[in-house]
Amino acid sequence: MIRPAAGARFAPGDPVQVRDIEKEGHVRTPDYTKGKPGWIAEVLGAFPNPEGLAYGGDGLPDMPLYKVGFRQADLWEGYGGPPEDALFIDIYEHWLEPGEHGGEEKRP
């Protein structure tokens, strides 16, 4: 953990899913992750929200940030590499919802 994140909703190992929503303006959650299932690889801490900072706000309160892991095969249809290939991306808590349990055994 880089910075303390009191009240973080998720813990390492938790299955999560990226919310599949359209949001106007500046966001740091790319389209290719939306609606996809992954897991919490690491709790990185709490950071100001870039969606507020981008418009001159202070981005407070700090938002927990997570390193989220995905199997590449879950992100890309017809992914050409081995099933263990993974992608990690840093996602803010308000973009995550709990995922389904039972995916752990597939995790690389």
Binding site: D85, F88, D90
Partner: protein, 211 residues
Amino acid sequence: MSETGHNHPHEEPRDKRSPWASRIRAIEELLEERGVLSREEVEAQVEYMEARTYQNGARLVARAWVDPGFKERLLSDTKAAAAELGVDASGTIEFATVENTDEVHNVIVCTLCSCYPRAILGRPPDWYKSFAYRSRVVAEPREVLREFGLELPENRRIAVHDSSADLRYLVLPQRPEGTEGMSEDELAALVTRDSLIGTDVPHAAREANRV
């Protein structure tokens, strides 16, 4: 406008120059005249960036290869480890180092812009900022690495890291075989800029002019 040596020298010939060159210079001049910033501050920042090169990363890697305690510190607090070697990466940006092993090969990208550990490594390569790299390395990393001349064993998994937030990533490559007895400086010379991003790996025998 007086030009002072390296930090504010001449511009490109007019026919090759972007129209934005005069606009950003105009902004710079006007802001200086208004006291918003000073010529010294701009020059100091230019110097700061010029002083930062991938060799900083190569030294971190070489030290981590020879000193297991340093390696632990590099992996757990990259900013502090950089400071130990005299690289000032202080600021609000955080850094993390991901380690290549026999099981996993790491590669870094910023699909949304061009986030890169500039305070340690300096400017990213042009290709890192390209739309082609940003779009393809997340979806077809093995093909992209092949383009860079890197073929990984099928049983080694790839971990792509998209630097989407406040962390900037460096790759700690594996120490090549056949480097026992090399000095730290010799080891650092094996570490390429691209191996710190993950599109290359260090080799024991290097051509002298390889980037």
